[in-house]
Structure formats: structure tokens, C-alpha cells
Amino acid sequence: MSTVNDSLVIAQRNLIRMRRIPEMVLFGLIQPIMFVVLFTYVFGGSIQVGSSLSSQDYREFLMAGIFAQTVTFATAGAGAGIADDMHKGLIDRFRSLPMARGAVLTGRTLADLVQTALTMVVLAVVALLIGWRIHEGIGKALAAFGLLLLLGYAFSWIGALIGLSVRTPEAATSGGLIWLFPLTFISNAFVDSNNLPTFFRHIAEWNPFSTTVQACRELFGNLPPGFKTPDAWPMQHPIIASILWSVLILLVFRTLAVRKYRSTS
């Protein structure tokens, strides 16, 4: 019994599914592109980040938020997919096979990670086309994408847990999305968190999602002119904080999800 092998077999299964349902991948791309367009062209001129109201500064500021939002929203797919497998009796089949216990979930989350990575590539190209630039070199930019994928992978275990906990795929879709709105909006993703009311500002500065966004902004060189880095520890040390948060979330929710999978009835 091999965890690695079994996980790869399941990952392969999910990748084949992705190829056969390309519209799923497509929708996963349209949404962030829509957000880029809406935020840069609709809100862009009215949102002050740092001391700048320039829409080019906002565009660069925004992209880290959009990337992070995209990896985060992708987690809803893991939940819906797993709930669908439960509903169709596939989870029962897998649980009756002599395979590694965590492999069904690991395989699914790994396949989602591949899809997310592809989405990132396309989204980065679109961003470059509309004027997003990196200023700290390709190495740091790649490190930023690494942090993003780690965050997305950690969150996908929350999606998996939700998928195992609800009765229908429909519930998994809405349940998998609902927590993402406060998570991604009470953050520094779309606005400068310094401009938030005190209570929300504290939440935003400790939000694991904000931490990764801040780390990416530093690594992309996308911090706007006159930006004052908040005093909160995760904002002061965003890279290490981002890794710590992601690893913590991954450990906790992987344990919970695998336990739920084993005991599910």
C-alpha cells in the first residue's frame, strides 16, 4: 500500500476529468480576469493605495490580491468534487479498496494544484498585457507564485473537509464559497489595509490571506509609493508569516479531513 502511488492514481483520474470538462477550467479563468478588469477600470481611479491615486500603481498593487484570490477560490472546486464523489458512491468504492487512506483527498488536491498553477500562468500573461510589471527579478516573482500555490494547496484541504461534511454537491459549492468572501475582502487584497476601520484593520493584518498578498507585493516589487507597512508582525515579516500560516492550515485541515474521510458513513 503506497500513499504516493495511490495519490498519483487519483490525481491522474482528476486530471483526466479536467481535460474532459474544459469549461470548468475556463470558468476558473474567466472569474479572475473579470475581477482584474472590474477593479482596474471601474474602481482603479478611485482607490488610494499608499499615497498614490494613479491607476497604474493600483493595477500593480491589485495583481497580488487577484492572484491570491484566484488560488483561494479554486478551493471551492475541491469541495464540490469530493461531495459529488460521495453522492455518486465513488467514495464508498474507494473506501472499500485496499488503498492508502488519505490518497483520495491528496490526489484530488494535487490535481487542483496543477489546475491552479495553469490558471496562474494564463492570468499572469493577461496581467502583463494590461500593464502589470514585476520589479524584483524573475526569481523573487517565482518565489511569490510558490507562496501563492502553497496557500491555495492549504486552503484546498478546507474545501475537502467541507465537501466531506455536507450532504449534496450543491451545498458544497455554496458552503465552499461563502467563507471565501470575508476571507478575501477583509484583507489588503483590493484596498490598502491602512485605510480600514480599526477593527477590520486588525483582522485584515492578521488574515493569512493578507499575509501572502503582502509577501507577493514585496517579492513582485508592487508596493505603491508612500505605502506604510502596518506594524502587525505578519505584515512586517510577510514571507515567513505566509509560510507559517499555510503550513499550519495544511496540517490542521489535512488531519481533520483525513479523519472525516475515514469515519464518513
Binding site: 500500500m1 495511490d6 455518486k88 458512491g89 464508498d92 474507494f94 473506501r95 479498496l97
Partner: protein, 329 residues
């Protein structure tokens, strides 16, 4: 020496509901046990406990000589499970589904590939092997599901309502497949709400209701328990029912009572004497001027067995989806 499937005192609660209330089972190697019962009787729960999907609250279960509670993963190597749904990935082709299951049974990729080809051939799916299974008909999907359960030629098989929702032709086909399988020496536990199916496929039958085994034996033994043959008469005129009742009472075995259904004008009486007696009944009814629409000698069916044991009919009209929800919760 316990059989290939052995259970003793299985109990399982879901909240306040007692899904299994002390179930004992013993299936000798190479035989088929039909677990027969209405929706919600506990059939699926019993199968889920025996196939490691559920942990019973108490009791003992041994499958293929291995303790299910102590060594679930060893049990999984020796069983095949075909559930109420065709549990196949609809976006994968038949071939891909079987290869995946083979690999998850820890076969290497090459062996899994080879076995998939054999199974597709055996289950008459070779032509559709490279089409996504969502394009398959219901019967094809069930066959694929069954093939997936047979990837490692497991010595013990569990089938939970394998033909629920299939049309008669596909049901017949699946029966043939199951018979082939059993003739190869596989031990099979089969749940069904179709009495005919249990009669057709199973060596032994356990009737289960409200989480308890209420009767067990061969199909013939269970039928004998209900009583022997009966004469059924449908009279043409409602006014003749009482008169016919008197006539039939004269033929009743041991002075047994005639049962009368007023709205269908049907009278049933337990008898002995077979076809010869039937002729006498017809002559007597004719002599009294009672016109009849239908008359026949009936051997008891498992339906009769079921009604006489549980006091209610088996609910065969329910949809498979409902059956699962009732049973699985």
C-alpha cells in the same frame, strides 16, 4: 468452522434508530446468500459493516477468514463490492475506470491494463471501452461497476441491490453474469428487495426486517413455512362471492379459512391435492352456476413468505435513490 462471510450479533445505531439489532449471518464458501428485506430493513447497513465502510457498535464479523474490525485493510484485499449505484467515474472511459480500480487494488499499471482488457471483453463492453462511461446505458454502467468489483477476482463478493432500477432484460443479463461468477466458486452476499431475484440466485435466504433476521433457510424451506399450495378463484359476479366462499370452504385443507378480496372478487383457499383437486373445484363451482373469470393453483411465492413473516408486503415499488437514503442513514 465459520463460513466465508460470518457475522455474530451485529448492532449499529444511527442516533435513535437501530439500523441493525443483532444480526447473525453465516455464508459457507462458494454459496450465495440472499439478504431479503424492504427499504430501511438494514440490508445496506449490514453490507457496509461487512465491507469495512461502517464500524458496528458491537458484534463480530469475519470475512474470508479475516476479522473485519481488527484488520479492515486485509479484508479489503479479498472482497469486491458493487453498491446500489453504479460507482464509476462518468468522465472516465470504461477502460480508465477499470485500470484505476486495478491500480488502487495495488496492481502495477501493466497488470491493471491487461486485466481491464479481459474484463471489458468478459462483460461485453469492449466496443464501448474508450467512451466516457456517462455515455453508457444503465445496464452497461452496472456491468462496468460489477467488473470493477471483480478486478482482483476476489473470493468474496458483496452486491447491494445489483439490479435495482434495471429493466427486465438487463436484469436477466446481470443474473446470468452473477450465476457465472458463482459457478466459479465465489462466495456472494446479495441484498435485494426483489423476492424473485433471491429465489433465482440465492442458495440460502435471510429475511431481514427492522434490523433483525426474522427467518432463514432455502427458498423451498421458507415457502413450506408459509403453507403449501392454494387455489385462487376470481368470480364474475360480486353476488356469487358468498356462494363461492361456501364451495371453497369444502375443499380447504384442514378446514382452513378462505380469504376474500371483495373489490377484486378474488377468493383464496389453502388446499392439498394439486391439479386433480383443481378440476373438482371447477366442476363444483360450475354445478352451482358460479361463473368464473379466472382460476388457478398457486404455489406460495416469496412475497407470500414475506407477508406472512412481517405482516406487510415487501415494498418493491420504491425508487432506488430512496432505498439508499433510508438504508444508509
Amino acid at each position: 468452522m465459520p463460513g466465508a462471510i460470518y457475522a455474530e450479533g451485529l448492532v449499529k445505531h444511527f442516533g435513535d434508530v437501530k439500523a441493525l439489532d443483532g444480526v447473525d449471518l453465516d455464508v459457507p464458501e462458494g454459496t450465495v446468500l440472499g439478504l431479503l428485506g424492504p427499504n430501511g430493513a438494514g440490508k445496506t447497513t449490514a453490507v457496509r459493516c461487512l465491507t469495512t465502510l461502517l464500524t458496528p457498535d458491537s458484534g463480530k464479523a469475519v470475512v474470508a477468514g479475516i476479522d473485519v474490525l481488527k484488520h479492515p485493510n486485509e479484508v479489503r484485499r479479498s472482497i469486491g463490492l458493487s453498491g446500489q449505484f453504479a460507482a464509476v467515474d462518468e468522465y472516465l472511459t470504461g477502460r480508465e475506470n477499470l485500470q484505476m480500480v486495478g491500480q488502487l487494488y495495488q496492481m502495477n499499471a501493466k497488470a491493471a491494463k491487461k486485466r481491464a482488457v479481459e474484463l471489458l471483453e468478459q462483460f461485453n463492453l469492449a466496443d464501448a471501452a474508450d467512451r466516457p462511461s456517462k455515455t453508457y446505458s444503465g445496464g452497461m454502467r452496472r456491468r462496468l461497476d460489477l467488473a470493477a468489483a471483480l478486478v482482483v477476482k476476489p473470493p468474496v463478493m458483496f452486491m447491494d441491490e445489483p439490479t435495482t432500477g434495471l429493466d427486465p432484460r438487463n436484469r436477466q443479463q446481470l443474473w446470468e453474469v452473477i450465476k457465472d461468477l458463482v459457478s466459479g466458486g465465489t462466495t456472494l452476499l446479495l441484498t435485494t428487495q426483489y423476492l424473485e431475484e433471491a429465489d433465482h440466485l440465492a442458495h440460502d435466504i435471510c429475511v431481514i426486517d427492522q434490523g433483525r433476521v426474522i427467518a432463514r433457510g432455502t427458498s423451498d424451506q421458507l415457502k413450506a413455512q408459509t403453507g403449501g399450495e392454494r387455489v385462487e378463484v376470481v368470480v364474475h359476479e360480486r353476488e356469487h362471492i358468498d356462494l363461492a366462499d361456501q364451495v371453497l370452504h369444502g375443499f380447504a385443507k384442514g378446514g382452513g379459512a378462505t380469504s376474500v378480496e371483495q373489490h377484486t372478487r378474488k377468493l383464496t383457499v389453502p388446499v392439498t391435492g394439486g391439479a386433480k383437486l383443481l378440476a373438482e373445484v371447477i366442476r363444483e363451482l360450475d354445478a352451482r352456476g358460479i361463473e368464473i373469470d379466472d382460476i388457478g393453483l398457486r404455489r406460495p411465492t416469496l412475497d407470500d413468505v414475506f407477508i406472512s413473516l412481517t405482516g406487510h408486503a415487501a415494498e418493491t415499488g420504491a425508487t432506488p435513490g430512496d432505498a439508499d437514503k433510508e438504508d444508509a442513514k
